[in-house]
Symmetry: C2
Subunit: 373 residues, 2 copies
């Protein structure tokens, strides 16, 4: 079977099947629809867009048109400062870097308000994690701190808080309940603060960025819809544009379930000691068959393989990935060997990251204003 062309394409694990409803019901458009506009704006699709990991968008066309007209544009995301920085986070940071290198201003919220009031993470710990884990790793990955505005939610200033306060008058308990389940004052405050994160950069005080894209996992769309509604409802008080958004598929954990810091074997942290990272990768769930013989005969199933996910999300060029895909499907490579190839790539990546991280940690505290309390 060697050399036989695969019947489905190498990005097949990421077919937009599961996300169809989201796209049909809520008007999210396939990411390919902006490819001509990207070109017009002097950009190329990102690797994640090409691979369908970033599969959909809402209003990204408006942002790209603005950029093509020469207007200032921005990208914004937020991280909850809990646990350690892992490859799931890297997916988002890679997207930020992509936009940054294409002239977008980058805003990164450290959601320490949410961490402390909803998750009850001690304040000082949330700040330390925010700086030493999140900001440091982002810089080490290549996000340029000179062109990035990192901020703690709890140190963002009056106009930002004011937005959250005003939003409180523009949404009902029922609307919030539909998104956040059983409500508590903490959840409501966190949700309103998150909406302020997305919209406040439009205020003059924060640069007046009217065209903002927010890259999120597909499960985050309800928050985005609420934020869009809030932008609309502020009319007459402050004119706010709706934020654009892109949607990516969440990388599965190494056990095939959800990737989560709370199950350390489900993911690899970028600061894992190499032997630890290797151990996790070697134990990862693959799309291999029950026996070597069977696999040589039938080929593996990369679509079911979390190592293949890692290759596709983080480790390989298009060419390398296409080769692995063919070799797996054809049965010419077995899982052990394939994992070793992935590990070589990951080891190199982590080693380089480790040395950059050392430098990044030296400056991380200086690139962000830390909260008073």
């Amino acid at each position: 079977m060697a050399g036989e062309e695969p019947r489905i394409d190498p990005w097949g694990t990421l077919e937009v099947k599961d996300y169809k409803r989201l796209m049909e019901v809520f008007g999210i458009k396939p990411i390919e629809t902006v490819f001509p506009l990207l070109e017009k704006a002097g950009m190329k699709p990102s690797v994640h867009m090409r691979r369908g990991i970033v599969f959909g968008h809402r209003d990204l066309d408006r942002v790209l048109e603005a950029r093509a007209r020469g207007e200032r544009v921005a990208v914004l995301t937020g991280f909850m400062p809990s646990g350690r920085f892992h490859f799931g986070h890297k997916l988002t940071v890679d997207q930020l870097i992509y936009y940054q290198r294409n002239g977008f201003k980058v805003f990164v919220a450290i959601a320490d308000a949410e961490a402390s009031i909803v998750r009850r993470i001690p304040r000082r710990e949330a700040v330390r994690i925010g700086v030493e884990e999140y900001i440091a790793n982002m810089i080490a990955l290549g996000l340029d701190p000179d062109k990035t505005e990192f901020y703690f939610q709890t140190a963002r200033g009056t106009p930002y808080y004011r937005l959250a306060q005003l939003f409180a008058g523009k949404v009902t308990a029922a609307e919030m309940e539909a998104i956040y389940g059983d409500l508590s004052p903490a959840k409501i405050m966190a949700a309103l603060t998150q909406a302020a994160d997305i919209l406040h950069v439009q205020l003059d005080e924060y640069g007046g960025y009217k065209y903002v894209v927010v890259p999120v996992g597909a499960d985050q769309d309800p928050h985005l819809r609420l934020t869009r509604d809030l932008a609309d409802r502020m009319g007459g008080i402050i004119e706010l544009e709706r934020p654009a958004s892109t949607y990516h598929k969440m990388q599965r954990g190494l056990d095939g379930a959800k990737m989560s810091s709370s199950r350390p074997d489900s993911t690899i942290f970028l600061t894992d000691p190499l032997p630890e990272a290797r151990r996790k990768l070697m134990r990862a769930l693959t799309g291999g068959r029950a026996t070597a013989e069977e696999q040589r005969r039938l080929g593996g199933v990369p679509e079911a393989c979390t190592v293949y996910d890692m290759d596709m999300y983080h480790l390989m060029s298009d060419e390398e990935l296409a080769k692995i895909y063919r070799d797996c499907r054809s049965g010419s490579i077995l899982c052990g060997e394939c994992k070793l190839i992935a590990w070589e790539r990951m080891k190199a990546l982590m080693e380089e990251h480790g040395s950059r991280l050392e430098e990044a940690r030296k400056i991380a505290w200086s690139v962000v204003e830390t909260p008073r309390f």
Copy 2:
């Protein structure tokens, strides 16, 4: 019957009957319990304390002891900037002036956040009312703007907002529901903001006033209890003292029901044209009998008289009030005549207020920072 001593004292309308449960169940103490401490702190009971209008307190003893030790003390209240300034508001302002003249720092919150998100009063209107109605009238009544910190909730700055945000993590939906009824994000935000009003003056940024008394109507106690609980629960994050509070009886409206801006005939606004004010007072509900003959025979009932309330809350000295009480009870004065006496006092008060108000309005905008949005 002339000259006969009244069977009950002239402040009888304000017997602590209705408030007994509040005092027993929630540990509010009779205001008389602080009279010795007032003396120790070099103060005398206010006229409202003497008359039992301010009938109870919680922890005022701690504030007075602090003042006697030479520590800085403060008094704080808030006004919703809706409608016009009337004699009901004056009751609270008179208390502020009493504390101010006794060396307390005064903070006055203009609750424009609540006005806009809960009551949906247009932003600009809330600001205008806050300055031209509330602040101007307070200054005209004698509150010294140089010793008063007036502020709009929506222009108060980061540490203040931060408190409200943190409080969100320290209270459950059930606790809030018990106080505020059906919850909405707007109500929750307003309640947390109100708690921040009371507690934020303890922060260094706002002067670090640890001993604060909040004069409120008896119906406001649930808010105070919540605020005390929040202060306790912040331990480990920020050390906050529980606020002290005093409780006053709400002045009834001129129709005997609740005094309210929304029923203009229930109260007299300090800016009412004199003929208008006179008309309202002349039509006010009294404790008179069905006929003049009956009243001469049985005497009137000052306890049921809203004109007598006005005399007691605002218009008369102790001696004058005692005389009116005797004359009414004895039947030696009828309601028409009594109203005219009250009107003479009120007319003088309003004329003087009117001329002071003209001056006060000239400076009102300059004594407060107005919100950006």
